[in-house]
């Protein structure tokens, strides 16, 4: 008799969502988290009285949460209260005196754009008119549907024919779509950077990511107390339903017999048996380290080995002794799509950390979480996080050696483009390099968005939520369908739980 019906490896939002739904379906469920903190990338840590978000800084597409809690028969508001964040982004380049913020309201955003680019203001409204129905179709259907193979895709198209309208967006690029609508360089920069959420520059990212710039106008949210509020809420729901979460339990191996998952083995040799195992960490780690080559057919090994990881996002955590002169939760430097594309080939692929002029990277996103929740910092102080882009492998060099210089250069970049004199107000500083993210969160290559998201790594070409080679093994998290990002992995968790409960009915 196995110890549990379901054992979930990893206490991130995807694993917790799948666990809660399995528990709700009457299966005895255990979540094993290797660290002492819930949430993985969607989490918050405390240092010197400051509370910093580890990775994710807001959530959008809250339909995932609503769907999860609807299926759990619980109140989302009770478990995960959310505060609306408005404006969505403030774009800033003080060297050119350019600054504009996009509010949530689409018409208001068009008005903001019209002030400096009248044609693009009109184009934004057309962009919204053209893509809003596609967004609804995709979020309501594609997001929560399994994409195990051609049969699932055909089934999906038959059930929701409107989804076919979104098909061309998978075949073209993010850059082509935004260039079709917008001409102004600053507007283009504001609509193109979202490709990096897929870990790719705009000319290599599937066009479907162009809708992210519009999705954000459906509303972005922040939970009180930091991003950890989201996984904590799902954990609480799981525990209220009778499920269990254990911390400090690092899984090193998935027990496999005759191509069937039988449980897991922890780092101390403890074995926990289970009818079903859900690997809610990076799929490469699940298959290549925890399952092992000996249990996989050669073509599956070749498939997982060929999958590429998304671009890592180094995180810098700053505590400051004043209220920073910012206007929004998110402030972004403006970088043209062409510069982003060139960065990919000239720096990222070559493993170069610093560009010629000494800047650490081409773009940076500054999040000011204590604006919406002052309790995240001691009185009179504030927390800032800086998310950048950088290669994991440095050409002939090591991240640990460059950590301090990287922080200095990133602060200098923020001073140059967004907050003058920032360095004079920093009272706490730390950083998670791609290597640190790999060590802390077990993301191979520090790739917090999991497997790269281009057409060749999407839907049925992404690691399946139900393993096709190991019976009773399921997967969840950013490297599975539908992809990375907090709400997306929650949707993935829902899909995984649907497959587990269907197979165990």
């Amino acid at each position: 008799m196995p110890d549990y019906d379901v054992v979930v490896i990893g206490g991130g939002a995807g694993g917790l969502s799948a666990a809660a739904l399995c528990q709700k379906a009457g299966m005895k469920t255990l979540v094993l988290e290797q660290s002492d903190r819930i949430g993985g990338c969607c989490s918050t840590y405390e240092a010197d009285g400051f509370h910093f978000d580890v990775g994710a800084s807001v959530v959008e597409v809250t339909e995932s949460f609503e769907e999860l809690f609807r299926r759990l028969g619980l109140s989302r508001e009770k478990y995960i209260p959310l505060m609306p964040v408005d404006p969505i982004y403030d774009y800033c380049d003080i060297t050119r005196g350019v600054r504009f913020a996009y509010p949530t309201d689409v018409e208001e955003t068009a008005r903001v754009i019209s002030e400096f680019a009248p044609e693009d203001g009109k184009a934004f409204l057309k962009f919204a008119r053209d893509f809003t129905p596609k967004i609804k179709e995709l979020v309501n259907n594609f997001f929560f549907a399994p994409c195990q193979g051609f049969v699932d895709i055909i089934r999906l198209v038959i059930k929701y024919p409107g989804i076919m309208e979104a098909l061309p967006m998978f075949l073209t690029t993010h850059q082509k779509i935004v260039r079709k609508y917008f001409k102004n360089d600053d507007v283009l920069a504001s609509m193109a950077f979202q490709s990096f959420y897929a870990g790719l520059p705009p000319d290599l990212c599937a066009g479907i990511y162009a809708i992210v710039g519009l999705l954000e106008h459906e509303g972005i949210y922040y939970p009180p107390g930091g991003m950890i509020g989201i996984p904590r809420g799902i954990q609480r729901a799981l525990e209220d339903l009778g499920g269990e979460v254990q911390f400090g339990k690092r899984v090193v191996k998935i027990l496999v017999e005759k191509r069937t998952a039988k449980g897991v083995e922890l780092w101390d040799g403890t074995q926990i048996t289970a009818r079903n195992v859900i690997g809610a960490i990076n799929a490469k780690k699940v298959y290549m380290e925890m399952v092992g080559r000996e249990h996989l057919p050669w073509h599956v090994w070749r498939g997982i080995d060929s999958m590429k990881l998304s671009m890592p996002c180094p995180m810098i955590y700053l505590g400051v002794d004043y209220e920073p002169p910012l206007r929004a939760h998110h402030t972004l430097t403006l970088t043209s799509p062409q510069v982003m594309n060139d960065y990919w080939s000239d720096y990222y692929l070559k493993g170069k950390l610093f560009t010629v002029d000494g800047r650490p990277e081409i773009m940076g996103l500054v999040s000011w979480a204590s604006k919406i929740d002052p309790s995240l910092a001691p009185k009179g102080k504030h927390v800032l996080t800086h998310m950048g882009l950088a290669p994991y492998n440095l050409a002939g060099d090591d991240w640990d050696r460059h950590k301090e210089r990287y922080i200095d250069e990133a602060i200098a970049t923020v001073e140059r483009y967004i907050i003058p004199d920032l360095s004079k107000h920093v009272v706490y500083r730390d950083m998670a390099t791609p290597k640190d993210l790999e060590r802390m969160l077990l993301h191979p290559g520090g790739a917090v968005y999991g497997i790269q998201t281009d057409l060749s790594h999407m839907a049925m070409f992404r690691p399946s939520n139900k393993s096709k080679s190991i019976k009773n093994l399921y997967l969840a998290g950013a490297s599975t369908h539908p992809g990375g990002g907090v709400c997306t992995v929650v949707a993935g968790g829902i899909i995984t739980a649907t497959l587990v409960t269907r197979d165990n009915a």
């Binding site: 193979g149 997982i304 060929s306 999958m307 057409l455």
Partner: protein, 46 residues
């Protein structure tokens, strides 16, 4: 042989014209997909 040369010339001219009106970075997506194409049948089974 003559026909083959003509075909190659025509294809070359078409490719040249297309390259002239297309930004270099526009080629990267199809090129990337072309490189990834042989790997996709294997990924399907993961």
């Amino acid at each position: 042989m003559k026909r083959l040369m003509m075909l190659l010339l025509l294809l070359g001219a078409a490719a040249g014209a297309l390259a002239a009106v297309t930004e270099p970075s526009d080629w990267r997506y199809p090129k990337m997909l072309l490189i990834e194409l042989p790997k996709m049948p294997f990924r399907y089974f993961v």
